[in-house]
Symmetry: C2
Subunit: 118 residues, 2 copies
């Protein structure tokens, strides 16, 4: 029950597409992640995901379109929807998603990470 400072926590987030956990509530994790470049196409069968932009901007690609999401904005990707985050410049994101959520969803592969707490 202490304040969590995003800027301070972001200093502990290294690499790209490697989320770290900063809080847990109601079976959900709040995570921070830095993203740069293209991630893998994937979906989550049972998990909706919220992406909140803390710094920068990115493009959320869907199979039929894409959305630019900027600082001060969020986007929700419902379960089952294929998506791919693409960041032309480094973007800092906060994620809200169930504890069970893996970053690569159904795609798996070498970019899958089990997030640590910071």
């Amino acid at each position: 029950m202490q304040p969590i400072n995003f800027a301070q926590k972001l200093e502990l987030v290294n690499g790209h597409f490697q989320p770290k956990i900063i809080a847990e509530l109601n079976g959900q994790h709040v995570k921070l992640v830095r993203a740069l470049g293209e991630f893998v196409w994937h979906s989550h069968a049972d998990e909706d995901e919220a992406f909140v932009v803390l710094r920068g901007w990115f493009r959320m690609e869907f199979r039929d379109r894409s959305e630019v999401v900027k600082e001060g904005e969020m986007i929700v990707v419902p379960r089952g929807i294929e998506h791919r985050p693409v960041a032309e410049e480094e973007v800092c994101l906060m994620l809200f998603e169930p504890v069970s959520t893996l970053n690569t969803g159904d795609a798996g592969g070498e970019r899958t990470v089990v997030p640590d707490w910071i």
Copy 2:
């Protein structure tokens, strides 16, 4: 699946301690609220709550201490913990909490509101 802009949504949030819903995922709501002054002491038996400061700052009072939470910070209040948000100046907050959550928790009373979507 479109970006949600917090500043634009905040223009639709009137009054104080009257949360509005901007997103739903995994049985949780994301809400925006403006706060000013002292709210009522309350707790939530079955719901953890996250408070993210978008603008300004506020003090989260607990029975034995309080925490100042500033822009760019969040605080999680676990279920069962009595708390009271106090804002000496207007603060704009994003809340992340279960769909079932009422703003006044177990306290009820005239400041209870059923939030609308904006």
